[in-house]
């Protein structure tokens, strides 16, 4: 596996002036993490755990106070390479309304590649293929404000895809969406990862989204608390709960049955796994 993003001993702090004294706030502390090309990584952590700050280091929006971040081998602190980094790593934020700039869907998607100086013909191709990838092609002439939340968020993702990044970082992209919208966005993300090989870094509070990733990284107090496959990470029910996090209800149920002495070997992650196990127990 080839490393795509490498964070080496990254610390990030900022200074807060409180009355007369300067207080240093440490958001990230000596954090090291490697994300491989083509991986789908979910990052979990309570509010204030440092996960959004970490994500902003991946496209040089923030630079480490100490340590280094490399994106595709490029040092993010190299001011001249900022542009190269931003074309490789696209960022999708929580609120789709803050990310849409144009009054027609396809113009919005074209905004990124236009700024990159991509020739007009090539832009046309990219916009069409990006809109098809998120299944919004038939809405290309619509006004974004008339779309549903899930549709808007998919347009925002198309805008990032049109820049042809090798990696997309999504910071709680479904927090404001209804269940259908969440599902649409998640399906889109999975498809981009599987079919186009785009590296995905998904920051989320939803455990059912995290179980779809190849790998789950749990942050706490600016450090990495757990890092592994979803099944492995979610088996640490007690640790997760202690750090203000949740597990999927399916996992919690089986964990609690187990603590009541019911014989359960492997913790389920999804509803269907849980149903199978329960049927075996009840038989």
């Amino acid at each position: 596996m080839e490393a795509f993003i490498k964070a080496e001993h990254v610390s990030f702090h900022y200074e807060n002036e409180d009355e007369h004294q300067v207080v240093q706030k440490n958001v990230l502390e000596d954090l090291s993490l490697t994300i491989n090309k083509g991986e789908f990584v979910a990052i979990l952590g309570h509010n204030g755990s440092g996960k959004s700050t970490l994500a902003k280091h991946f496209n040089a929006m923030f630079l480490p106070s100490d340590g280094k971040v490399f994106v595709d081998g490029i040092d993010t602190s190299d001011e001249e390479k900022k542009y190269d980094i931003r074309t490789r790593v696209g960022l999708v934020l929580q609120n789709p309304d803050n990310q849409i700039v144009a009054s027609i869907v396809e113009e919005d998607v074209a905004f990124g590649p236009e700024n990159l100086g991509v020739p007009a013909e090539e832009i046309r191709k990219r916009v069409d293929s990006a809109l098809k990838a998120v299944e919004m092609y038939e809405y290309r002439m619509h006004a974004p404000y008339k779309l549903s939340g899930g549709q808007k968020q998919r347009v925002a993702i198309a805008g990032v895809i049109a820049m042809e990044p090798s990696c997309i970082v999504l910071d709680e992209p479904t927090a404001m969406l209804d269940p259908r919208g969440r599902n649409e966005v998640l399906t889109t993300i999975e498809k981009l990862n599987r079919e186009k090989g785009i590296t995905i870094i998904l920051i989320t509070h939803y455990m059912d989204e995290a179980v779809k990733a190849d790998r789950v990284v749990v942050m706490d107090e600016g450090k990495i608390l757990l890092d592994g496959a979803p099944r492995e990470v979610f088996s640490h029910v007690e640790i997760l709960k202690k750090h203000r996090l949740d597990v999927p209800q399916a996992t919690e149920l089986m964990h609690r049955l187990k603590s009541h002495g019911v014989n359960i070997n492997e913790m389920p992650l999804t509803a269907s796994e849980c149903i199978k196990q329960l049927e075996a127990i009840l038989k």
């Binding site: 952590g45 309570h46 509010n47 204030g48 929580q94 549903s148 939340g149 899930g150 709680e172 927090a175 404001m176 969406l177 209804d178 269940p179 259908r180 919208g181 969440r182 509070h205 455990m207 059912d208 203000r244 996090l245 949740d246 999927p248 209800q249 399916a250 919690e252 149920l253 609690r256 049955l257 009541h260 019911v262 509803a271 849980c274 149903i275 329960l278 049927e279 127990i281 009840l282």
Partner: protein, 290 residues
């Protein structure tokens, strides 16, 4: 007794223009005093329009909204009073904090109601207590608070008006799981103590399952279902067709039921499921003589 009631309520955006859109269509529902009602529906289903009709932010195109049997638009000039009685916490309410101190921000509502300073002070402190904001935070600027604290301060501002009906629109959006739990338990405790009516609009089926007595399901501008929580969540297929979901635990238990196991429909929490399963396992164990 009904606290809120709608009579053939209809609301149309951009009436008589090419953009005309019916957002609430001939709705007849009633909400009893002291109920905790969850409102669900996909984006654009009409639920936000409905709650804005409830507190007089929007005026019905036709039909009426009754608060304690009186049409809220009977005296249009006094509609402000309705907004004190039907308090509304909007999405991301922390963006609306604006005063120099948290105390001043929370007191803004009661001040507008023309209450005495003494009463205002009592209300501010009570409201802060309900959402667990420490006294020491009251003199701080709202901008010094953490995200979760800001959200709670904004909610306290509405609680301080002591509304008879409290409407919360997506109060937990963007909070982490623990923040969500804490806020919901504050709301629950407030409901228990004050015995007032609460309407909670949410996309989180888990939040709704844990708190609501009844659920109003809005779909295509109409009330598709309005029934007790267990009953509504036993209609998984219909909800999914409307772009909604049921809590994962409910889905698991319903599926066992469909596979022939004797399990009651509409199980809403992990705790409830655990008890049902433990009982079944014990029985089976005894029957098998193990």
């Amino acid at each position: 007794m009904n606290v809120l009631e709608t009579e053939n309520l209809r609301f149309v955006y951009g009436e008589n223009t090419p953009f005309e859109k019916v957002a609430v269509d001939n709705l007849n529902i009633s909400i009893e005093k002291g109920e905790f009602v969850g409102i669900i529906g996909h984006t654009g289903s009409g639920k936000s329009t409905l709650v804005q009709l409830f507190n007089g932010l929007l005026k019905p195109s036709t039909g009426r909204v009754l608060l304690n049997d009186v049409d809220i638009w009977e005296k249009p000039k006094e509609i402000r009073k309705i907004r004190f009685q039907v308090g509304m916490v909007f999405q991301y309410p922390e963006y609306q904090l604006f005063e120099e101190t948290v105390y001043k921000d929370i007191s803004f509502g009661p001040k507008n109601m023309g209450l005495s300073d003494e009463e205002i002070d009592k209300r501010v402190r009570d409201a802060a207590k309900f959402v667990d904001l420490k006294d020491s935070l009251l003199e701080k600027s709202p901008f010094e608070l953490s995200g979760g604290e800001k959200r709670r301060a904004a909610i306290a501002g509405v609680l301080a008006m002591d509304p008879e009906v409290l409407i919360l629109d997506e109060p937990t959006a963007g909070l982490d799981p623990m923040g969500r739990d804490v806020l919901l338990s504050h709301i629950h405790a407030y409901h228990k103590t004050r015995q007032n009516t609460i309407l909670l609009v949410s996309h989180s089926m888990e939040d709704i399952a844990r708190t609501a007595d009844r659920i109003l399901v809005m779909n295509e501008s109409k009330a598709a279902m309005f029934s007790n929580t267990a009953e509504v969540f036993s209609h998984g297929k219909e909800l999914i067709e409307m772009g909604l979901q049921v809590p994962q635990i409910t889905r698991i238990m319903m599926s066992l039921r469909e596979h022939g196991y004797d399990i009651k429909p509409g199980i809403l929490t992990v705790e409830e499921a655990l008890q049902v399963l433990l009982q079944k396992i014990e029985k089976e164990g005894a029957a098998h003589g193990s």
